[in-house]
């Protein structure tokens, strides 16, 4: 049997409506914030032995050490794989739980700049992976993720604004995840770790402690990349402690601010 031609490669085959439907599907991408939110949820649901090698006691310790290198899984491996000396240094730091140098020596290595590509569909479906210039909002969140993924260093809260890195030698990422890199949001690693710990508290039935941890996260990361995840946990924790009115109020506030959040459905339930 010979391979048929793809519809989109075969102009005569399609009605305008068929073509538009397929092209719309090709241009589809996850909602803004989804990538970040799912990562937050995944981090929060990993078994403690994997996700939180320092254990819950680290919650207090890490809070006092803003420069502690709390790593998400894989970040070490990534650093090492990139052959960044920084990664190796951080590994040692992390294992011994000493505070690391608060100043990042270098920003995280970037992948590549996503080529600015209009929504117009290409002839070949294969090359049609929705690479495109990220919207500003999304840029931020993917940078956050990239920071999490590739930078194992936590800049301290007062460190200077990040330097935009010169593109390094990492080969271009093949498909959709290629966004400009930046060390801006490396703290997301720490933030997500804290959230995972707060979630663990909540899941273990300690909602009051979870609320305290979440309040601490709020003051430490007032403009954190995972605000939605934090607020969703707060609402859940409030419900768990029986503070229904407060939960409802927070949920309404949440919905007003993030009506299309992946957590909106849960917030809506809480707001009822």
């Amino acid at each position: 049997v010979s391979e048929p031609k793809r519809f989109l490669d075969d102009p005569g085959e399609l009605s305008p409506a068929e073509r538009r439907a397929l092209e719309a599907a090709l241009g589809e991408r996850p909602p803004s914030g989804a990538k970040r939110a799912v990562l937050g949820a995944v981090l929060g649901n990993l078994p403690p032995s994997v996700d939180a090698p320092t254990g819950l006691e680290a919650l207090g310790a890490a809070t006092t050490k803003a420069t502690g290198s709390a790593l998400a899984f894989g970040a070490l491996a990534k650093s090492a794989a990139l052959g960044v000396a920084l990664g190796v240094a951080t590994t040692v730091t992390w294992v011994s739980l000493r505070p690391s140098d608060p100043r990042p020596i270098a920003p995280a290595p970037p992948a590549q700049s996503a080529p600015g590509r209009a929504a117009s569909p290409p002839a070949s479906a294969r090359s049609a992976a929705p690479e495109r210039t990220p919207a500003p909002d999304e840029r931020t969140e993917t940078q956050a993720l990239r920071g999490k993924a590739s930078s194992s260093h936590e800049p301290d809260a007062s460190s200077a604004p990040p330097v935009h890195p010169v593109p390094a030698h990492e080969p271009p990422a093949p498909s959709t995840g290629a966004f400009p890199d930046d060390a801006t949001l490396a703290p997301t690693t720490l933030e997500s770790r804290r959230l995972a710990e707060a979630r663990a508290l909540l899941r273990s039935g300690n909602a009051v402690a979870a609320l305290a941890a979440l309040a601490a996260i709020r003051s430490e990361f007032p403009r954190g990349a995972l605000v939605q995840e934090r607020e969703a946990l707060v609402i859940e924790a409030l419900l768990a402690t029986g503070k229904r009115d407060e939960a409802r109020e927070r949920a309404r506030e949440f919905l007003g601010r993030y009506p299309t959040s992946p957590h909106a459905a849960a917030a809506r339930r809480a707001a009822e």
């Binding site: 439907a21 092209e23 909602p31 990993l46 998400a72 495109r132 993924a149």
Partner: protein, 182 residues
């Protein structure tokens, strides 16, 4: 992809692929977050077992496919309404409002067409038409014979065309149901 791929790299590079695969496999918008999370938890757990024999996207799609099928079994009762929140989310905000509306409409049409397919057909159709996989690659991904892949593609294409025709007719006919004349 060598064995050195880390979860972070994988997540960063393939999150969009997993997300849109789940969408196209019929996971409702309200469930996408949860199902994507399930997929990546499985990915994280099994990353050590992943062998570079297959492409990473093949592996990811298989996991996504199973997750979508499970979700479908659990929630098939709830699958009745066109979930417009998905559409609110899914169009590129960079486009202007008119284009956005048109795009949303086109996407709704695409969703309707997918709804006319069963899960296996959806998988074959979207992998072939949108992800650009070859018949062989699809057969490998779904672990089915090549002939089966092609026959599913044929059925899926028929379903797609019929559904687009129906959808178009309905859109042209004011308040008309399927089959309404322009």
């Amino acid at each position: 992809m060598g064995g050195a791929v880390t979860f972070d790299e994988l997540y960063d590079e393939h999150f969009d692929f997993v997300w849109r695969s789940l969408r196209r496999l019929g996971v409702p918008a309200a469930d996408l977050h949860d199902v994507a999370q399930e997929v990546f938890l499985v990915v994280h757990r099994r990353l050590g077992d992943f062998e570079a024999r297959s492409k990473v996207t093949t592996w990811l799609f298989r996991i996504a496919f199973h997750a979508a099928r499970d979700r479908r079994r659990r929630a098939h009762v709830r699958r009745e309404v066109l979930d417009t929140t998905a559409l609110d989310h899914s169009v590129d905000p960079a486009t202007d409002a008119t284009a956005l509306l048109e795009r949303r409409d086109d996407l709704a049409l695409f969703d309707e067409a997918l709804d006319a397919m069963d899960l296996d057909q959806r998988a074959v159709f979207t992998l072939f038409e949108l992800e650009g996989l070859s018949g062989d690659e699809i057969a490998d991904t779904l672990e089915i014979p090549l002939g089966t892949a092609y026959s599913r593609l044929r059925l899926a294409r028929d379903a797609f065309r019929r559904a687009v025709l129906r959808g178009e007719a309905r859109r042209r006919g004011p308040r008309a149901t399927a089959g309404g004349k322009p």
